[in-house]
Amino acid sequence: MVGIGGAGLGSGPGSVGAGQMPLGGGAFGPVARAQYGALAKLRWQMLSNGLRFRKGKLELGVRTLGFLIYGATGIALGGGLGFAAYLLAASHEMRFLPLVFWATFLLWQMIPVMMASFQEQFDLGSVLRFPVSFHSFFLLYAVFGLADISTILGGLCCVGICVGLTVALPGLFLWTTLTVGLFAVFNILLVRAIFAWIDRWLAQRKTREILGAVFMLLVLSAQLLNPALHHGFPDFHQPNHKDAVRNVQHYRDMQAQYEPWLMRVNAVQEWLPPGLAAKGLRQVGGKTGEQAAGAALGSYGLIGLYTLVAGVVLAARLKAEYRGESLGQAPKRTKTAPIRAKLAGGLAAGAVAKAERASGWLPASTGPVGAVMEKEARSLMRSVSQLYVLGAPLMMVFIFGSMFRSNAGIGHSFTLALPVCMAYSMLGFTQLFANNLGTEGAGIQLLFLSPTPFRTVLLAKNLFHATLFGVDALIAGILVSLRLGPPDYSVLAGTIGWLLFALPANLAVGNIFSITMPFRVNPGRLTRQRGSQANALLSLLTQLAVMAVGATVFGLCWYWDHLWFAGPVFLVLACCSVFGWMRVLRNAEGMANRRKDSLLLTLVKTE
């Protein structure tokens, strides 16, 4: 037998430390530095080893493409905000500078929710079994967040603002850098703190369900906010001079009415970090060294305080995780005695009826299809990230409803508002369609073990998702109609036709993606998911392609003034997509069996 004497296993108290570096030195001591190096190497090795698989190569390609896209988006946003900052500073309109900081702030804080499934995140909780100090853990948590999309975009926006302001006011370079830097640190810590706490609430079923309910209430409240905000706003569509004059007068009246309210909002926002950053820059403007420092001390001090609070809130959460807080469900003890009693006595009639009711909502005749649909419904009710998918389309209707009402170019009631809102509703379902096995986890094995054909499972999932989308589309359609008036019959027919084409097309492609590039979805997490970027990007491209077909058909029919013709065209396309969907379902069995190893690997095996 091969010996392991050199490993020094349990060779007495004196020898345990052999080959070990001394602890200490805080977050930058020799052991801490070695740990950072090991983690960086780990990430690199995981990435390079991933290239052994076709999926890994695809992931790397998509990730590179993704970073290019995010980088380009960030540069565009940063350029826009930088230009805005430049214009405001150059034209001495610094009082509007808070708008630039608020835009950056909202972008930074909102992006992680929108992009949760588009980025792979490493769960640092797994390093806690090693002798990692809390300072190192905190630092790692903050540093690992620097490569996420929100930080890239937010960071580029900050660079843009800094450049814009420096070009306009070169004398303020140092103050601008300090302000923007402080503002960026605040945003990094705040976004990490918010999502660390959200993940904590999502980790337990009860808090997850409460958070889900709160989220749905927020979405519904947003719907009520829409008409409330736009009540009384003038119609900018100007058919003649008389109307235009009346609108301008109406706008002035509104300005007088809302100005006190806006002043109050302004007074409040000045005490919040984006407002403070702008205020600090206003205060140092035109002053020299000590004068400037004295003038802006309060503003910078407050931003520093906010940053500290965000850091403390994040630290409190991480400290709990570091100490060994368990967010999992408590293990249930086996209640053998009652089971024995039940077995001995048999189930009472009432209990049988109750068990039957609990075993399913759909009739028994629906068989495995009904069973899978019920399972999907139950999973959905316990997953905030998926509930978000349901709520998001309504939010989109809220946004676009406002746009169509107030945009002078589009007019009061945009003719194609209904299909546009439907398209956006469908966009929210992208991840549900394209990763319909993601929530199965280890349960995927059961799907392969059971006598139910895989295509039946996919059919059930497709039917469930189609029903869900149908409900969502109906609500969105009603909201659009209430907001913008009932659509024209030809538009309605065209929209229904497009849906009949788009839904099976998305389901068919989604089934293929679900089998070929699935990723495990943790219903208890919004961040730190291990998503597949290839799946995310390709499914989004599919959605965009389906929308492009719709836009082309609608556009051409509108151009030739035969909007009614869109309906029949879409029906023909729908026949093709239904045929394609059925073919995919027919081939699903073979496709899933050929990819069985890969599916199990991704959804079941070790990280």
């Binding site: 392991i4 070990q20 570096m21 070695a34 190497k41 390093v127 079994r129 053998t336």
Partner: protein, 266 residues
């Protein structure tokens, strides 16, 4: 007086209304091979997680090698090795990459890490699989790798949660001899397993936890004598196996009688 390698005082862990581990006071002497037994859901893994700093106790305290232990006790963390419940392997690494990663995380210098990685892979008969990703390993190979990772830094106290599950007889024999060698050199091993035969063969002392409470603690001979004293006839003591002792303590009466079992099963 010999310092206990592991000492707990009133260790308690609550999950909401459920108390998973309640008031566990336990002492494991240095150099002991200690078996920690209990039925499913009794609180074994919860206890191990608390003892290794992965789970914060709701009440009570822990001392490892005579010093108070918590998540921040880094020096103590370096003196313990763990094979956790889910093995905590990283599937997209190869075995040498993983061992080198673990070695560096425990603060070993590069040369020591590399040398021990090679030795451990050789010993665990995984050296020929050094190009394979961990995710492609069999369950048994993964267990061996998890054990190698738990000992690479030469721990004084080793916590093993079901280490022999899925390991073939040859590998199990090899692992047992390795663990026995560690004990001979003064290490302490805290083992949980459902395979009572292994505990009977390896462990000198045993504790049994049931419904979160420690219901028995002592050497196997002491437990045997204790259970035998409750049975009629002194000759029982010599014949009692650990399985009989275990069932007697945690309640064999909870098993359904044959006639009460699921009658519709073939």
């Amino acid at each position: 007086m010999v310092t206990a390698a592991i000492q707990t005082y009133g260790l308690t862990r609550r999950f909401g209304a459920l108390t998973a581990v309640e008031d566990v006071t336990l002492s494991v002497a240095s150099g002991q091979f200690f078996g920690f037994l209990g039925p499913n859901g009794a609180g074994k893994s919860t206890t191990i997680k608390m003892l290794t700093g992965l789970l914060e106790p709701s009440a009570g305290s822990i001392e490892i090698l005579g010093q108070p232990f918590g998540a921040g006790a880094l020096e103590l963390k370096r003196q313990i090795g763990v094979v956790p419940e889910g093995m905590a392997l990283l599937g997209r690494l190869t075995a040498p990459e993983y061992l080198r990663f673990v070695g560096r995380m425990y603060g070993l210098d590069r040369a020591t890490t590399a040398r021990r990685t090679d030795e451990l892979l050789e010993f665990m008969q995984l050296a020929d699989e050094s190009k394979k990703l961990i995710t492609d390993f069999s369950h048994g190979m993964q267990k061996k790798l998890a054990l190698a990772a738990a000992v690479i830094h030469g721990p004084k106290v080793l916590f093993l949660d079901e280490p022999f599950e899925g390991v073939d007889a040859i590998a199990a024999g090899m692992l047992k001899s390795m663990l026995q060698g560690m004990i001979n050199r003064g290490a302490t091993i805290f083992l949980t397993t459902h395979v009572l035969e292994i505990v009977e063969r390896l462990c000198s002392h045993v504790a049994i936890i049931s419904k979160g409470r420690l219901v028995a603690n002592g050497s196997i001979q002491e437990l045997r004598a204790g259970v035998a004293s409750t049975l009629p006839g002194a000759e029982h003591e010599q014949r009692l196996t650990l399985e009989e002792i275990f069932l007697s303590i945690v309640g064999a009466g909870e098993q359904p009688e044959p006639q009460q079992e699921l009658s519709w099963l073939a």
